[in-house]
Symmetry: D3
Subunit: 313 residues, 6 copies
């Protein structure tokens, strides 16, 4: 019998454990097919801080989620054993040390063949997670949904932070460049080449403006077809969404994706061999009504629904 | 001469009576064609409370509304005598008693052949209102705009609350099942059958995902044609809207309707024999900038504009 | 070895379990000397709702607390085995049913000779808790810190809600009237007799205005001396505090106690035979900066520090 | 039989008319002994605007007030017939025109020998109100509780605004300078003479720093004795209070009065011949939890309690 | 060498000068091709105030902007010398005087052949700016993006305020009526003629409902073609946007434009002879997460990008 | 002629430069007697982040301040030439690098014999500032107003962060231990020795509870007498204040100092040889109404008023 979320009629939603979806908390990855892990860091952010409170707030809002996906038919807890592994014990004063700690934690967790679903925290975390993922799975395809390309070389002379992780991951061979998709990019930049260099690496870039006013089902299918059976990592920065849908984030950019588009995109990845995913950059101090964290919780749930092994009814 | 809203040049909008649109307050339904009634309850909610403050806040924001509908040509106050009847004296400690009180109040109000437009308050209120409506009009068609189907049998063992009213209304014969439309449903559920059972009853269900990225004019026309000349009740839960448009609600679900869609839908009901309507689940503590209540006030106004007897210019 | 709170250098404070002070969660009361229990209800409130979110928010803010009381020398976790028992499974739609459930839960918990420290939730909860307490300890002395006397006979015809529990407790013989202290009363009332009847019962009343501008050490000593070795229940409604210190509550009254006064009062109860305590009426939607919940967490901690068996250094 | 506030057990507090204390609204001053009047203006403010929403918000929070003053024994509605006269129809685009309109309105209202209690709105309003008051009562004593002396000659070349009204009132002979008391002054200024000139006029000035850490009963008695039987106007700027107690105001100054001090001060005026009073500068956009407006409502209530003719029990 | 914005790697974005995009501040218009100018007024507003804080907040959020427009290729600072001229010294107590001051300031600034980009402040400011513009350029074409037509004759008897400026501008011959475009109009009105009269003047009106669910590229092209080489003024009221995207404004109307539409519209004006532009009605007290001001900053940046003389890469 | 703040009648307070008190900005320390310097860092915080926005917000609120101290008679700008030197270019990703950068900046600034007044930012900044100060002045006396002693040895293994700077400063010989005063300490700790070790070093500790309910004039005089003519550094952590007065901070502790006490304390330091001062830990995301930053601005102004060379009238 797999773990099940605590039901809303068993205990009122504003009550009970503050785990993701009120799933059981686990102290060991053993026996799990997928795991929720928090990385409550924000010292890798360059504008508004607060993402350290993200994992806590996403878990709180996830109490609204029920187990069955009425819209897609997915029944994730029928097929997978899922638990919340709590937070990585990051070092809130040192970005470098935190990056090392995340890697060490994920190396240990990934001895169990599970899919880690990470709640951020700032986007820096994707780098150490990908290092651990690549040690297990080799270079991976990447579906990177974000307002920003995160391909800076350095920021303030620092090589590993929330705006550089994609460049580092590519340099270190953690990615299959021809199978990297960046979706939702927009905003302003320092040079005309900001998006062009990555295109030269083989990345597939879909700027937000190419996606306005339309469903993303076709794009999702295109991505899925192109990636095929490669192992895939999905990294979703909540600022990919328009600030109307996700005001609670550190570096918001206007004119982004809508939540229907986000759901179409994630749902369309069903069938891919997803080996890990993260949802990052929720900053609760700027999320007055909790809707950003609620959106994040839903997206993580939809990611869970498209993992290999989830039955559909 | 019918009642008219107080004009913005007669008294500054942030001033004057806190009635809907600053209409005259009435203590008796006599002589009215339509009436605004508040039901300030929230003890039927299962996640975030606060909807008890809804009627007050909707009225406050309705001060922005002027009498003439520039977009549709409707001039509601030229054709109908409308007043604000204030709030039902609910019992804030007892859901059961409140339900009885609402029924008694509406039974008394409906001795006058008027159309009640109810400001909620949580969605539980639709049940006693429908009971009173059905006593006058018999079973009615229902246009139910909502993120949730509200067809649970019980919640915490309680049979009458904000998640069960539709099932109760059907069981009690208050509805014409083949003329029930549920628009905007989405979110997660406890079983795969959540939406299917209602479909078996003859309900017409349009999930939110079927409506993304498109106008709702055609849908409204389809509904109007199907319902024909049956008496219709319209129940609009503000959480039908996406949280970007309506964050101030108790059980928000992401990826909902947009306000243009809501207006298209309501406007398209023009010509139907509407016998009552409500707008529920506005929770002001989560509506930091007042825009949810403003949206609610506008939707109630648009409902008023499509009532029988409203002239169009 | 007793349970210890998780330390801030072991895991960042914004991380880890959402228990009180990040203590271990327990599923059984066995072996505990004191227990934290949440009662997340708010349907017994008469003005602003939201207290259902209180236990969660108090626990979140309690992450700031460290084990040792630098100001009094108390080391509660050196002497007592404490855990967080989670929340009572209240029925959010029925006040009467919730009251019964709380009683049943506490009856079961109190089979273990522990001291329950309850996080509210609205003040109604003190009634069923006192019923369970009295079944174990007989009638108790009461230190009731509150802006309101809560001695109404009924509200909206309801006999058991947040404004009547003291009268009920007295009627049912749960209290020793000559050892009931009400501290911080103020505000307006319906009759001149509002405070006088209770005085006639033998209650000791200290209105807020009698306490302005002065320390409460002497008062605490007077209370302690008068109560002597009777079993005592302490009920602290956060609205006893001035809204400057505790804005996040349902029925705030101006010109209340200060937090230094609250600490002096609680600390002065050291040596009494406290058999239970609660902290109620924290309403997070009105607690924008989290300081009300932080204050509540501190007061609960100070209550813990004065329990019998706590060593002082 | 005099007007009575609507009781909290007759209709839930979050319901009912948005008049002060849910008193009856009156359209004519006839038969009234005292009247609540709103002046919803804010174009006379020099830093943060928003006070135009003040009267509405004070009325909303006043729903918490019950008729009997438990702390002083005052029963204002036993002795006085009080109603809410609604708002003056100010001109939101013209300060000069608004000042004229307020005067005209008050001249008309004061044909009835009632005591006007004005809800602001910015402090400019005290000037036209005083002009009308002086036309009826001649020059008056003034109890002016404020962080600022409001004795500027001009601001931006304008002679009548929220920082000049006291100087104008004195120049026009509306005041008895030897019976003017300014309480709570503090903050910074442009010249060393800011407070000295007024002292030279005979004004009695008590800076906030002279009042820190102490009760104000003695001061209130001193004021009452000195004023004797002269007609008195009381003007209370909410920024007299410390921002901890009243954050929702336009020009906050730190280290102000506490609410206990404010209550002691107002209560100590009992016995004076008060002919009018106002409470100004509540700015709701900066009053996140509603506590500033609640405080304002209480102070207006306390002013009502010390009017001539109020019985005490 | 033209002025450049301070880079995010030179100084952290939350640091440095509070000018627009952290451009140099200039005290003289000499040598500038375009200038940012603030007009921090809000006494011309009829509902919620606060726009006086708009320029400050827009500048604060503009720190997120980098120099190069990744989506259009525009490099505004390669072609134009731009600086922030600070704020006009408005008179916060007098609307009439403020209008005169704005005119005088712009007359002086426009002795230099630069394009003024104005940050509001309420929409009244467009009238004096247009007077100065017309003195230099003669009558201009107008692209007016707004929820409201602003063609009232008077409001409260006042002829120059935020709801009348378009009528005044037309009467005074500041506009070329056949080249006036009003985009995004919606909401309710006082008469059926609200929009019709302006149509009779030759204005081109596109109500919001005509634009729902579609890109605005074609509309922008239509406007650009129709206006041709006439000098154009662009006036963008942030309430043209839906409140989901821009809650922080004084008179929000539901069902407005989206930010993608706004960007398409502004970008499509490239090639026109723009001689001035403004962005008005940002009201920070209602902009809890700063996203309205961020949107405003982006729109001003996009306006800058379509000015004559900006190179594209 | 010394620099003067821009006056409120010259330019509306919500307008003009965002420097401290709208003083001129300077790019070089030359010719200055005192300088305002921002250090916008928050990566040294252990609970809630956001202090990086502190300097900006303090400057914004300082626009309320006028040049003359009405309460003490100080006229700082008559005697001292003061300017705002802007912010240190901190490295937002590296605490260690930021600490080095601050030292380098202050070493350069202090070549001019001025008094630096630093706006934080988290408390880590005091360490590098003190290093620079000590290089010029030798070991200094310290008046440290704070809820926390900041004498940890390490936090998460890090030796230099916001909880360790006092220990480091003492170890490095930057302080004269017998002339160190710690005022306002409170809260909970990890060991009973938390405050005792520092006492053993010769530090003078006044816990908050020793100071409740009383003026601090006598304490200030005691401090001043004891310090005598030693060079003094004043470090004021805003969390020394009670959260009622200063909710906007990262690690609030209940039952702290009041703002009157803070003013008495700072004013009582007049006559000391103050060589530097800072005000730290203002976290704007938790400062909803801006009152924490306003308080901080006032305290910095009061520090300025007690610097050597300020004339009193």
């Amino acid at each position: 019998m797999t773990n099940q979320p605590l039901g809303g009629n068993d205990l009122a939603r504003f009550s009970g454990p503050q785990t993701f979806m009120r799933l059981p908390e686990a102290t060991s990855p053993e026996g799990l097919d997928a795991a929720i892990i928090g990385v409550p860091m924000d010292i890798g952010t360059s504008w508004r801080s607060g993402a350290r409170m993200g994992p806590k707030q996403i878990r709180e809002q996830s109490a609204m989620l029920r187990p069955f996906n009425l819209q897609t038919g997915a029944a994730p807890f029928d097929g997978l054993n899922v638990a919340d592994l709590g937070d990585v014990a990051i070092n809130t004063f040192s970005l470098a040390e935190t990056i090392r700690t995340v890697s060490r934690s994920y190396d240990r967790i990934l001895r169990q063949p599970l899919v880690p679903l990470t709640l951020g925290g700032d986007h820096t975390l994707s780098l150490p997670v990908l290092r651990s993922i690549a040690r297990v799975h080799g270079p991976v395809a990447l579906v990177h949904v974000d307002a920003h390309a995160d391909v800076n070389d350095t920021m303030f002379g620092v090589r590993e932070c929330h705006g550089t992780w994609v460049r580092r991951a590519r340099e270190e061979g953690l990615l299959r460049p021809s199978k990297v998709w960046q979706i939702g990019l927009r905003g302003t930049g320092y040079t005309a080449e900001d998006f062009r260099e990555a295109a030269g690496w083989g990345f597939h870039i879909r700027q937000a403006q190419q996606l306005w006013h339309q469903p993303l089902k076709a794009l999702a299918r295109e991505i899925a077809d192109q990636i095929g059976d490669a192992p895939v990592y999905v990294s979703f920065d909540i600022d990919a969404l328009d600030p109307a849908f996700a005001p609670g984030t550190g570096t918001p950019e206007i004119a982004g994706l809508t939540t229907p588009q986000a759901l179409e995109l994630i749902r369309g990845l069903h069938g891919l061999r997803i080996v890990g995913a993260d949802l990052v950059e929720v900053s609760p101090p700027y999320d007055m009504a909790g809707t950003t964290a609620l959106t994040a919780a839903n997206i993580v749930y939809e990611m869970l629904c498209v993992l290999p092994g989830v039955p559909y009814r």
